[in-house]
Symmetry: C2
Subunit: 444 residues, 2 copies
Amino acid sequence: MEKFGPVRVGLLGAGTVGGGTFEVLWRNQAEITRRAGRRIEIARIADLNTARAGEIAAGRAEVTDDAMSVVTDPGIDIVVELIGGYGIARKLVLAAIENGKHVVTANKALLAVHGNEIFEAASRKGVMVAFEAAVAGGIPIIKALREGLTANRIEWIAGIINGTTNFILSEMRDKGLAFDVVLAEAQRLGYAEADPTFDIEGIDAAHKATILAAIAFGIPVSFDKAYVEGITNLQAEDIRYAEQLGYRIKLLGITRRRMDNGKLRGIELRVHPTLIPAKRLLANVEGAMNAVLVKGDAVGHTLYYGKGAGAEPTGSAVVADLVDVARMLTSDPGNRVPHLAFQAEAVADLPILAIEEVETSYYLRLRVADEPGVLADITRILADAGISIDAALQREPDEGENQTDIILLTHRTIEKQAIAAIARIEALPTVLSKATRIRLEDLN
Amino acid sequence: MEKFGPVRVGLLGAGTVGGGTFEVLWRNQAEITRRAGRRIEIARIADLNTARAGEIAAGRAEVTDDAMSVVTDPGIDIVVELIGGYGIARKLVLAAIENGKHVVTANKALLAVHGNEIFEAASRKGVMVAFEAAVAGGIPIIKALREGLTANRIEWIAGIINGTTNFILSEMRDKGLAFDVVLAEAQRLGYAEADPTFDIEGIDAAHKATILAAIAFGIPVSFDKAYVEGITNLQAEDIRYAEQLGYRIKLLGITRRRMDNGKLRGIELRVHPTLIPAKRLLANVEGAMNAVLVKGDAVGHTLYYGKGAGAEPTGSAVVADLVDVARMLTSDPGNRVPHLAFQAEAVADLPILAIEEVETSYYLRLRVADEPGVLADITRILADAGISIDAALQREPDEGENQTDIILLTHRTIEKQAIAAIARIEALPTVLSKATRIRLEDLN
C-alpha cells in the first residue's frame, strides 16, 4: 500500500516527551502508516545524555550526542525539537530550517519569544514548522484554530492551559488548603517541578496564550506584551468566598479582540487568576486537565478538553504533526487527508457487532411485590449469569401499597446474557412488570 | 497579497444552512481571504425555490433552479451540497465528482448510507469530499479525528450528537415533565421539527455515529449495521431514579473497538439512551449543545463541545472545509496551512493592550470596620467611577470582633478606572486593609 518511502525523522531531546513520542509512533506504527500513507520512522535521536537516548532507542534508532549532525543530515526529512528553552533549541531549529528540514516542536517558550524569526525563516525556505504539542498537550487546539474555525472572526479565547496550576487550585478548593501546602503536595506527586516558577507565576500559560493570540487574530507573537500574573498570592478564603457567590477561581490565559464603540481597539493578552461562573464547563475542568474555550462569531462557543501534558498526550500531538507533514510531502494533494482518515487502500472491513454482542452496563427498573426475598431472588439470577451488581435502590412502598420499585445498576456484561437473565427475572412470581432496561456507560 | 485568483463555489440548496454559509463567507470575507490565501466566492446558488435562493444571493451571486447546470459548470471549482436526503443529493454529488469538482457537504444521511460509493468515485477522480458540517455542526470533530488524533489507536467515542434529543432530555430532567409534553414544547420553540422522527428515534445520531466509526477505525461506512434506539420510551421516573443514583440519561452515539481477551473482536456501533455518571463533563452538556468524547490510547480522553446545529455554526464548518480545499488548491504545499493561521503577508500588527486598558469584571475583598454606612461609602465611590456592582456579600463579624469582610463583584470596567476607584476606597478610614482584587470573566 505504500506508494512512497518512509519519512525519516531526527529527534532532538530524549526526555519525557521524546520517549512518549518514540513509544507512540512505534506502538501504533501500522495504524499511523494506514493514515499517513507512508511510514514515519525516527531514524536518529540526539541528546547530550546518550545513555538516556539509548534507552529510548533500544536499538531501533541511531543515537548521537551531536544534534547539529542531525539537523544537517541529508537523510533526515523532519526534525523534531523537544529540547526546550530559547538557547540551543533556537539555534538548532534555525539550522534545521536553513537545511530545508520541516520542523515539529513542542517548545512554547521558543515560539512565544522567537516565533516571528522562526516562521519567517521557514516561509523563506518553504518548510513547515508545526507546533500542535506547544499548547495544551494532546488537545488539537492549534489545528482547531488554524483550520477548524477559519470561517470565524475569533472574538476571544479563555483557556486553562497549565495543568500544574489547575491541579493546585483544584486541591486548594477541594481540601480548603493553603497554596504552599498544596504546592508541596503537587511537587511530591510530580505535578509540579522542583523549581515551579514557570508554572505558578503564569509564565508557561502566557507563552501558550501568546501563541493562541497570534493564530486567532493574525498578529505576530509578542510575549513581551503579555500581562502575566500567577497564583502565588491566592488566599484560600478568596476561593471560599468565590464559591459562596457561585464562582470558581481558575488561572486563565485570555486573549480578546477588544472593540470600543464598534471600533477595533486592539488585542487583550493576559494570564491571571480569574473568577468564572461555577456552572460553566470550564469551571468544572479539574486536576491537571486542560481546556480551551473559543468564541467565534459564526460558531459561537466551542470547547476543547484533554490532557495538557505528559509523555504520551504530548507525544500524540507531536506525531499528529508528523503525519500532517508526511501527508503534505506526498505528491497526491487531492487526497492529502484521506476521506475516511485512513488511506483508501488501507480501509479494513472489521465486523460491526450485532447489539446482542455488545458489552455494556445496565440500569434495570422492576415493579415487585413488597415481600422478603425478592431482591435476593433477582440478584441470584444475575449472579448465576455472571452479572455483578454495582448499586441497588429499593423504594419504600407508598402508603397502603404492597408493591414497590427495585432499581439495579449492573457491571459490564454481554447484552444477550443480560437479556436472558432479565427474562428469568421477569418470570419470577414476585416480579410484577416487564423490566425497564437502559444501558449505562461509565466513560472512564 | 492574493497570488491566486478566487476559488469559485456553486451552492446547492438555499435553506437555513445555505443562508448561514453565504452570510458567514460574505461577512468574514476579508479575514477568510487572509487565512486561505485566496478569495472564496459563491458564484452560483441553485434551488428549485429560486425566490428563496434570490433572498440569500441578494444580487451577490447568480441564482438558478437547475442544480445540474452548476455541477457541470466549468467555471465552478467546488460544489457545496446542502440539499439533504439520499435522492437528488446523491445524483448531484456524483455528477459533481465526475465533472472534477471538489465537494463539500453537510449531508450525514447521504454519507452514512452512500459514503463508500461517493468516496470511491472521489478517489478515482482525485477530488476532495469534505464533510465537517455533517457531524456535530460547528465543532471541528472530523478534523480532530482525521488529523488531530492520527497518532492514536482510537478506543471509543461517545457523543451527544443530536441537539433536539439533548434539549428534550435536559428539559425532562430539569422540569420533571413527560416526553410528549417536552416534545411539543421543543416543536413550539423550533428545536424539534414538525416530523421529529429522524431526531427522536435516533436515526440522525446514528448517521453521525456511523461516520465517526468509519474515520476512527478505518472501516467503510455501514449505517445498516448500526443499532438505533431513540428516546420515545423514556419515562420521567427513570430520569429521576438515575439522578438519585448519581447518573444522567443522555442519547449517546457510541462506537468502540471491542477487545475480548486481548483480541480485536469487532466494532460496536450503537445509539441509545445511556446513563452516564453525573460528574462527567459530558453529563453536563445541556440543552441543544453537542459534545463528543474520544478515548485514544496515547492522548487519553479528549472532549469537543459546541453548537451542533443552526445556520451559522453549521455554515462555520462548511466554510472551514472550503478554506481547506482552497489552501490545498494553491501550488504552495510547504505553506498549505500558514504557520500563524493567516498568510504571512497578511499578518496584522494590531496593538496588544496594556493591562491598564483591559476591560474585565472584578472580585474585591475588603477588611472593614463593622460600622453603618461602610458599604454605602464604598459603593458610592464605585458608582462615581462608573463601575456598577453585580453582587455583594457582607459577612457577620465573628463573635467579639468589630471588623468584617465585604466582598463585591463588579460589572465590566476598564482596569485603570478600577485601580483608581480602589485607591479611593482604600483611603476610607473604615477600610482597614488593602483590597484583594481578582479579575472575573463571565465567559458568556
